[in-house]
Amino acid sequence: MASEDEEFTMLFQDFYPSLCRFLECLLGGRAPLAQDLAQESFLQLHRTAWGTLPVGEARFWLYRVARNMAINEFRKSNTRYRLFDRVVEAMRPRTRNPEQEYETQERQALVLEMLQTLPEDQRAALLLREQEQLSYKEIGQVLNISESKVKVDIFRARASLRERWSKRAKTAGANV
């Protein structure tokens, strides 16, 4: 029992932060909600699937469950919460120097804003690829879709972001 808990703790330490980050980006920066959902996913794993899943599967299981929870949240949530969370998140005190902090915040806010323009399935596929470095096959397992759909989704997501990014850069250049 103790060794099971130790194994679980190791898995938790390895993947809880990245699961939080994945959910935070998926949910448009709602960090506390992302942390709650990540915790709930691990709790479900510990209660139901831990011990029955092959070790390598646990990670995919976690991402699958967490993403389903996030989809439920999309259905429940509304713009008011998202705006409120963004305002609060923007005001969150940090420890770095103010200039660096401001730049990081700006950059992160821009990444979130861009990601939010994508459909949820494309966003999830792209995040799993760019942040978690999962292969197309693994992403297909997590999202329960075929490898070819993963490939198309990731390409479309990149193409769409690239276009938006260049439009934004042009607008910024015109303003300067």
Binding site: D5, F8, T9, F12, Q13, Y16, P17, C20, R21, E24, C25, A31, P32, L33, A34, Q35, A38, Q39, F42, L43, H46, R47, D85, V87, V88, E89, M91, R92, P93, T104, R107, Q108, L110, V111, L112, L115, L126, L127, R129, E130, Q131, S135, Y136, K151, I154, F155, R158, A159, L161, R162, W165, S166
Partner: protein, 310 residues
């Protein structure tokens, strides 16, 4: 992106092409400036997304692990109370059970009193009520009704114990005793009624505070002062909350006690906010208030108490 190779560039940077395909695309990129730009842009996007930093703190992570590894029973209980609907239903069931027990004991005591009233008083130790009924003219009260109406009044009061059990909420009444009413249980009733009134007022004040706290606009100038007002108010309410919770515990009022217990940590958190409000802390408190559905519970309970007191 007019070049037919652009889709393959996406797979290329993901390492999802076979060796032959990869070599072919690499060769193409060397000769196609558009594809070269696409690859550079895709890689730049990758670095932007990959460098996103989560705002997770180590303390939050450790707390989460502790909660997950905690014994199952307590975690289950926490889950039950974390879901507002389940918590509310639980409170209702507990309230109903307590109400039923209270109602039964009250009915038993009332039927006993009625029996005593209907029996002629043989000894001087009879209750004040019995004395009043036996000799209404002898009462010293100045506001007493005329003797002609008094018998009707007495008749009503004799039948009252039979009607009272039909009232859904059996809470002590907060009002001045009318002439000729039963006085045997008055001291205890008045004390309880005061507590009920205070609880109802406390719920209303807390509800107002939480609503105000929820509506503080942090992005506006003077927000710090606004929060400092809520903080001060919360400090006052914390002590009142503790006192009322103890009273409710002593009286065995589980419903009120549970609600006060849920409210207390929120009030303490608001009261302990620093001078310069921490936006993260404020958000956590606000989310907890919403998750526990505490504002609605306060409203429901204060309304129920107020109705019972009317």
């Amino acid at each position: 992106m007019s070049c037919s190779f652009t889709e393959k560039i996406s797979s290329l940077i993901d390492g999802e092409l076979s060796q032959t395909e990869a070599r072919e695309v690499e060769q193409h990129v060397l000769n196609c400036s558009e594809c070269e730009q696409v690859r550079a842009d895709f890689l730049s996007l990758r670095s932007q997304i990959a460098s996103y930093e989560s705002s997770l703190e180590l303390t939050v992570q450790n707390r989460a692990l502790k909660k997950i590894l905690a014994p199952r029973r307590s975690a289950g209980l926490r889950w039950a109370f974390a879901t507002p609907a389940v918590a509310f239903a639980t409170l209702l069931i507990i309230g109903a059970i307590v109400g039923l027990l209270f109602y039964q004991s009250k009915r038993a005591s009332q039927s006993q009193t009625t029996a005593e009233v209907q029996t002629p008083a043989p000894a001087p130790s009879a209750s004040v009520e019995k004395n009043k009924q036996a000799a209404p003219e002898a009462s010293p009260e100045p506001s007493r009704e005329t003797p002609s109406t008094a018998p009707n009044k007495n008749e009503k009061e004799t039948t009252r114990p039979k009607r009272e059990p039909a009232t859904p909420i059996k809470r002590p009444l907060v009002r001045e005793p009318k002439p000729g009413e039963q006085f045997a249980s008055v001291p205890e009733r008045v004390r309880s009624a005061d507590t009920e009134t205070m609880t109802a007022m406390h719920f209303e004040t807390s509800e107002t505070l939480l609503l105000a706290f929820k509506n503080v606009r942090l992005d506006e100038p003077g927000a710090a002062a606004e929060v400092s007002h809520e903080r001060k108010r919360a400090k006052q309410l914390v002590y009142q909350n503790m006192m009322l919770r103890r009273e409710a515990d002593t009286a065995g009022d589980v419903q009120i006690s549970s609600l006060l217990e849920s409210l207390e940590p929120i009030l303490i958190d608001i009261a302990n906010l620093p001078d310069q409000p921490d936006a993260e802390a404020i958000r956590i408190i606000r989310e907890r208030v919403e998750r526990k559905n505490i504002v609605a519970l306060l409203r429901v309970n204060s309304t129920a108490l107020a109705r019972a007191l009317d």
